[in-house]
């Protein structure tokens, strides 16, 4: 070890308590960042998986333009071929078919606008969490032909209960009047008001018949093994559809395109998180700056002697930077390891949201949130701490370059 390195290292431990406290501050900031980022990533996973489970699936195959206009005539003309293409993709765990149209829903007492959704009950249960969100009654069975599920708020508004009749009136794919009568078999409570206020689920066969769909659907909804599979599956499927069906009228959309609002709210949350983390790091950076400035001021005379001996200011800066980076790196290493350990513990055991387990379960959310430890959550926080603390220590390290030997010797 060179004398300069020894010098920097020993200087670090000249005031052990101060150094330990500074390292602890850096380590704590790092630990907090690793945990908080992992927690955020974990909650985003829950948010996405819940939303994907209720609404969109991870991916959908639709007619080009349907996502924007949602017109009843924009259909997937041959769902069987798309199903065959989808079935060949190993990362896809399940898929289902849906058809949707706006309709007037009338009970004996009231009429409200609703989104009538035709679902295939058996495959729907494998793709979405709708079957688990039954608040009252039962989910649709494969053999059901004229039964329906209504959102809790819609049922409330229509003042309709289980077994009562509901009339759906809308426009068919061909422009004809679509009308059907269904019996309420179950009430769904997803916890998402927009969905619960507007949705009526009916068997796909009934929908196709009532809305003159002629065997077509609006959405082929896919569920992948994990969120990480979404991007590769999308590419694979696009190629497959182009090659097998030779259709340029179909598009594959992922959850970010299907639910742009969700992505935006995640981004917003991430940004507000980062503002908080930035403030935290700035506070830590000031504490490091204070420590380091004190350490430099205390040794001004020593620096004067070193300059008198012929040490160049650049060399002095190097020694100080080595000192500060050693301190920072030790803090970051301890913080990142401790943060990863704490996060891993909670990633395995999860964190229960006090008194909310029942409500969460009711809305199809897990009772425990598991932070997601990843290379990103460990490195982002540590990286930011490293950059900001290192930048902070540049000031005192470069300040010594301006020392005038004779003045420093008098300090």
């Amino acid at each position: 070890m060179s004398i300069e390195v020894k010098m920097a290292w020993r200087n670090l431990w000249r005031n052990t308590r101060r150094t330990v406290l500074t390292i602890a501050a850096i380590a704590f900031a790092c630990l907090l960042l690793v945990f908080m980022l992992s927690w955020q990533f974990g909650t985003y996973d829950v948010m996405i998986n819940t939303a994907v489970g209720i609404h969109s699936g991870h991916l959908q195959v639709q007619a080009k333009g349907y996502n924007d206009k949602q017109a009843v005539y924009q259909v997937v003309p041959d769902p069987a071929s798309v199903s065959a293409a989808v079935a060949g993709v190993p990362q896809v765990t399940a898929h289902t078919l849906r058809a949707k149209a706006f309709a007037m829903a009338s009970s004996a007492r009231r009429t409200y606008g609703a989104m009538a959704v035709g679902i295939a009950p058996a495959s729907e249960a494998a793709v979405s969490t709708l079957a688990k969100l039954i608040f009252e009654g039962e989910f649709l069975a494969k053999t059901d032909t004229d039964q329906a599920l209504a959102g809790r708020l819609l049922a409330q508004n229509l003042k309709i209960g289980l077994g009562e009749e509901l009339v759906l009136l809308g426009q068919g794919r061909d422009g004809s009047v679509a009308a059907t009568v269904v019996k309420i078999k179950g009430i769904i409570n997803s916890g998402q008001d927009v969905f619960d206020r507007s949705t009526v689920l009916i068997p796909l066969g009934l929908f196709q018949e009532s809305f003159a769909m002629q065997g077509t659907v609006h959405e082929v909804v896919l569920r992948c093994r994990s969120l990480q599979d979404v991007a590769p599956v999308k590419l694979q499927l696009q190629d497959k559809l182009a090659a097998q069906i030779k259709s340029d009228t179909l598009v594959v959309l992922d959850w970010t395109e299907l639910m742009p609002g969700l992505l935006e709210s995640i981004k917003l949350d991430l940004v507000s998180g980062f503002i908080f983390y930035f403030i935290l790091i700035i506070v830590v950076a000031f504490s490091i700056l204070n420590t380091f400035l004190m350490s430099v001021f205390e040794r001004t005379r020593e620096f004067g002697v070193m300059l008198a001996m012929g040490t160049t200011p650049g060399r002095l800066t190097r020694i100080l930077l080595f000192e500060s980076s050693s301190m920072t790196l030790i803090g970051i290493l301890i913080g990142a390891l401790a943060g990863a350990a704490v996060t891993q513990y909670f990633a395995v055991h999860g964190i229960a949201i006090a008194d909310a387990a029942e409500i969460l379960r009711e809305f199809g959310l897990p009772e425990r949130i598991h932070p997601r430890l990843s290379i990103l959550s460990v490195t982002i926080g540590s990286g930011i701490v490293l950059v900001i603390t290192f930048t902070t220590t540049l000031y005192p390290a470069f300040k010594v370059r301006r020392l005038i030997p004779v003045q420093a010797l008098r300090a």
């Binding site: 004398i3 020593e302 002697v305 008198a308 001996m309 012929g310 200011p313 030997p405 004779v406 010797l409």
Partner: protein
Amino acid sequence: MPIVECDAVNKIYQQGRVEVAALQDINLHIPEGAFIALAGPSGSGKTTLLNLIGGLDTATSGTIRVVGKSMAKLTQTQLAQLRLSQVGFVFQSYNLIPVLSAQENVEFVMLLQGIPAAERTGRARSILDTVGLKDKYKRRPAELSGGQQQRVAVARAIVANPAIVLADEPTANLDSKTGQGLLELMQQMNTERNVTFIFATHDQMVMQYAERVVYLKDGRIKTDTLKQHRDKVEPK
């Protein structure tokens, strides 16, 4: 040729709105191998003159040449290089680097000069042996007495074979016996290695050892006495 030449040197400090003349019209030529004391009371300007010769400070006017180089024309980096290669410093309060051992303190100057590690170690130990600090290589300054620390400082000042050693009150913090031992050591270096020693002091003992005493008062040279023989100094 003189190793140090000061011609019409003035140094004025600005203290608030008041100008304080620390040195006025200093003309001093010091030959190579001299053992010279700059004497005078506190505030007489002796340390200021020493700092100007060592390139730690710059003169307000006049010319200072050290080993033939005009100090006013050198940049800070060139001054640092000159100090590294030609000038050694010994300070009143030793000013060793507290986190380095005696040997490492001595080695530090050679490290700056780019001398390889093995050679550094050999030379540092040899010079520490010369100043009577054998077996104290690994001691940190805090583990050494004042006299021992000042010996390390002398070893550090001369290890790189400088042309000049500038010593500012080197005996001020030492008892007379230790101070005398140190002066004898420096005298020996002066004789054996022909190193020029310039002291800033008000210690009578240092003046007795010096072959030339330049007396300053109020920033001016009052007397410049060249002795025929160095005084014989009896231990106190």
